[in-house]
């Protein structure tokens, strides 16, 4: 299997796609902080540094926090979904047991 088709197959999973988007958002937030640092360091005038602080540092940190928070939520939901699938198997087994008990009655 080629790498491209592997990636395409992996991206069909909504979890992988959402994690990819959230990682890109988090990296964008980090890049925003870095750009803000570079812009603010290039000038000695505080009035010109503040826009970098607002757009890059605050905006970047907000984006980073938002992306990481959603990443945690997605990961936990994935784990919950797996546990629910396991519980669903238990429910089905119990239903089969009930059906068998009714037949033998």
């Amino acid at each position: 299997m080629k790498t491209g088709s592997r990636v395409a197959t992996a991206l069909r999973d909504p979890f992988v796609a959402s994690v990819g988007i959230l990682v890109v958002l988090a990296v964008t937030g980090l890049v925003g902080v870095a750009v803000a640092w570079k812009g603010a360091a290039a000038t000695l005038v505080v009035a010109l540094q503040l826009p970098y602080l607002v757009s890059g540092a605050i905006g970047g940190l907000a984006l980073l926090g938002f992306a990481l928070g959603l990443l945690l939520v997605q990961t936990r939901r994935r784990r919950e979904a797996r546990e629910r699938a396991e519980l669903d198997r238990v429910v089905r087994a119990a239903a089969d047991l009930l059906a068998a008990a009714r037949v033998t009655r």
């Binding site: 505080v46 009035a47 503040l50 826009p51 602080l53 607002v54 757009s55 605050i58 905006g59 940190l61 907000a62 984006l63 926090g65 938002f66 928070g69 959603l70 945690l72 939520v73 936990r76 939901r77 919950e80 546990e83 629910r84 519980l87 669903d88 238990v90 429910v91 119990a94 239903a95 047991l97 009930l98 008990a101 009714r102 033998t104 009655r105």
Partner: protein
């Protein structure tokens, strides 16, 4: 002393009245209930509003050249924007947890009802064999 001993006696009529009193139940709108995705959308909207506020703060701060005029925008729009993003994230988190808990409760109810039926079936079956 007699007055305190009188107060300590449990009156059965009072207890019965309290037990019979109907509980006040708060009615939650359907779109706010645990399984509803509306709460998640509200969280996303609040977070987007926070990002818009940060954008507004950047626009206003970049348009001023005096620090004492920039700081109020930084505080009122920038920091409030960050706060709204965090609030939105928390709302999304709580909504996701509620949805998962609702799904789990549904499964557990199903399992309990099946096991109850199984117990009744086996209880009916038991005496016949004797």
């Amino acid at each position: 002393m007699s007055s305190t001993s009188d107060l300590e006696i449990d009156s059965p009529t009072v207890v019965a009245t309290e037990a019979a009193a109907p509980r006040r139940r708060v009615r939650v709108p359907v779109w706010l209930r645990a399984g509803s995705p509306a709460v998640t959308y509200i969280g996303v909207a609040v977070a987007i509003l926070g990002f818009v506020l940060i954008l507004v703060a950047w626009g206003q701060v970049a348009g001023e050249t005096q620090v004492y005029l920039q700081i109020p925008y930084l505080v009122s729009a920038g920091l409030v924007g960050v706060g709204l993003v965090m609030v939105g994230l928390t709302v999304i988190n709580v909504a996701a947890k509620q949805r998962d808990a609702a799904d789990r409760d549904r499964q557990m109810d199903q399992l309990v009802s099946i096991l109850d039926e199984l117990k009744n079936t086996l209880a009916e079956k038991g005496p016949r064999r004797r």
